[in-house]
Symmetry: C4
Subunit: 274 residues, 4 copies
């Protein structure tokens, strides 16, 4: 695209600024967007603190309107500067961009009615603006590949963990009973998950000696099996890293496994790249 | 089996539907069973929540009876469709299938008497239906092999952890005493396990400076030694994965597990590639 | 030793029974000792539970005396059956054996006096009998080698963790102050260790927003740096495991890296063992 | 330097004692400094404990003055014995050395005024003396290299963890509300971090069934993703360790880092072994 800079209209230029980051204007746009997102998240957070909201309600409201209008402009520009608007509108970021803009407008409509909970839920959507930050994170393909490769095995593992938690939680419900906080099986399963994952809130804790004995067994089990997902991911990353070293093969003897900075083949001594 | 489809009675067909999953009927049976199990577990859980059980007692009871009759039919079909019924009846899944069906029938017999605790324990058996889900999980032989290979070493490790917990728990019993919740050695050992595994409920916490100092040492120890089971499993999975990469088998003796750069078979000494 | 069974006195036979496990008598001795140790630990633990001690005081006392006399006989037999008694007496196990026997005898001497704390401390020594169990654990040289090799690096790591905890603990003492439970620097450092190791009792928890912000940073730090000891031990075990595979070299072409079950060299095709 | 011992003035000798550790005097200086630092940290800690400070206020004050004067002398000697004093003064250790000395002197100036908080903050600076200990720790280049190499990837990972915590925290703020302790989004995010990192204080714990369900999901997520930083660091250390095993260097161009089975240098193409 940068080689055909001669014949372009403002739409193409806008596209370059908004969707790309290899021009000074594009970089500036990204920096402004990044600051706007961080500023926006800070406002949403501060608004939720009662003492701050009571005091600075007016300032926060104005700031939120400014941010909302800015993001609305960004949304419109993104839609009109792309060739196929539907491609952006129905993409992950398109939906996030829309969802994080509308709550403020809706707050005007619903202001008279008493639908407080619905409003609170809508306001929350603005937090999702943080996902727009994901655009700025380097791909880190390497890492995400390793995670994807381990996902199936980790899911099977987590499924087993869940089965263990349901059985152990039910057992504890029987042993401890309602008097020690184990009032129902779902609550006991919740406790088992809290214990096995070594979180350990302490809001529910076993009171009987037998319950404490089983709790100890769950803890030691949780302490031992945390090794399994770690082992899966480690081996996957090690494998990915090793494969990464071995992309080139010698054109003379076809030996593989050269280091990234190798110039000569370690096996036949010929040059790797002519 | 699918090549001799001409001469078969209904028993063989039933066997194929129930025990296999490569026909549309077999797949349908599996899906229905899966839904029934998940539905069943949900009912058992909801029954244990007092507020729900009081309100929907009738609906839950009817649903539980429907599920129980369904699983009873499944059990009978499994017994009659297999050539050697004893092979199924005394298998792991056979016992689970039976144990998860009988509690509801027993609840009719014991309804007049006041054996509440026994009934509660019996009802719990229905939770074990979740183990039937294990049938649907892919073998994941790879992972379980690595776990089996590390089991002995992890057991030795956990045994050492237990010895450390007993000694440190006894020490804390002496230092903290009953006034800080360390009322007995078993309870102190329970606390030591809670601390070393980094669960940390907080139901028992050291109160004296010396106790807090030793607790800190236990935590740092626990933080450091969690590396050991992880290291064991990681190395085992890495090894298993590496062996897995060598997919070639010897054309002469069919031995597998050759290294990537192997030229001759390590078992029969013949060339791997002509 | 088993080939020269003709000319032996009872001392040699006793030595074989007590110190070795390759004769039926030796195995029987080990099993009895194992049961005695587990029984002994159970008694010490039960004695510390007030409700049990009040009820079964007499039975526990008799059992403890029986165990003590049994271990005394074992100690005497070990001393007289070895050629150099001093070698056993001043060894790790010799000291443990003696220390775990004397407390009961001393309890007779101090029975009149009111030195309760000293007695409680002495009684505790009997818990150390559990270390006698270490005799029965397989060497697991592999694992302990990997741990020894990583010990220096893990110590440096833990030292850094301690420095971080002291600085962060002092910072929290300044921010939170006595009103939120951070009454002194040692107590704040204790809290920092509890947080960084992800134990999280909750007996001391930050109350101010700034304190909670720093606490969050400590948690995420702790969550990230737990990777370091794990990485150290993992790499050490992987290395040890890899070296383990490569002990034999081909007598014909000196290639190394053969699998344990290799018969022929994978490089030159000759037999590895004639 | 040790070969030109004939012509040296006292400044050079002082430099050798203070900055180096290969002479008996240099070692002695290091040992004294080490003890002084540990002693100093202990005093700062004890001073913060009210019961101890009230009782031993005089002794602690005298000790602190002695330490401060000792460190002042050390600072002056370090400045005059180095050729370029600015190089030391503006170095990391130079700043630490100065910052840890001045608080005591400032306490004399501000003694009359009531600036307690500022004084407390200043006093805290003395804790930073512990960083002087870092001088004594072996370089452990290996480990720090692996950490540096994984830093970028771990930062990306922690950034994702933070985004997850903000979204989940906001969600819990909506579900649980102020009545269960989730009074604001920042506080809820704090709770999400406490849960995801498996710290689990229990100062804020979900009360509603839906909240506990989401909390369980967060815990299991936290339990699974702790594998990722561990995997990153492990693979990095494994890689570093593997490179370390290849100790041979090319006799022609001195390049290091050859594979174990390399015959030719990958840099200059000459034979590694004649």
């Amino acid at each position: 695209m940068s080689t055909q800079k001669t014949k372009r209209n403002w739409k193409e230029k806008l596209h370059e600024i908004i969707y790309e980051a290899d021009t000074p204007e594009g970089k500036l746009f990204d920096v402004i967007l990044l600051i706007a997102i961080l500023f926006s998240i800070t406002i949403v957070m501060l608004e939720s603190v009662n003492t701050i909201n009571d005091k600075y309600s007016y300032v926060l409201n104005i700031s939120e309107w400014a941010i909302t209008i800015l993001f609305t402009i960004e949304y419109i520009l993104r839609v009109i500067s792309i060739k196929k608007p539907s491609k952006y509108i129905f993409s992950f970021y398109g939906i996030i961009d829309l969802l994080s803009t509308i709550p403020k407008y809706l707050s005007v409509i619903f202001v008279g009615t008493n639908t407080l909970v619905a409003l609170r839920a809508l306001r929350l959507l603005r937090v999702f603006r943080i996902l727009k930050l994901a655009r700025f994170i380097g791909e880190s393909n390497h890492l995400s590949q390793a995670i994807k490769a381990s996902l199936a095995r980790i899911s099977v593992f987590l499924f087993f963990v869940l089965i263990i938690c349901i059985i152990l939680g039910s057992l504890m419900y029987l042993i401890e009973g309602a008097e020690n906080g184990f009032t129902s099986i779902p609550r006991s399963v919740y406790w088992a998950i809290v214990t096995l994952t070594t979180v350990g809130y302490g809001d529910i804790a076993p009171g009987t000696p037998l319950g404490q004995f089983i709790a100890s067994a769950i803890m030691i089990l949780g302490y031992a099996i945390i090794a399994i997902p770690t082992g899966i991911v480690s081996s996957e990353i090690v494998k990915k890293t090793e494969l990464d070293l071995n992309t080139q093969s010698c054109p003379h003897c076809a030996t593989e496994g050269h280091d990234d900075d190798a110039i000569y083949c370690y096996n036949c001594g010929n040059k790797l790249h002519e």
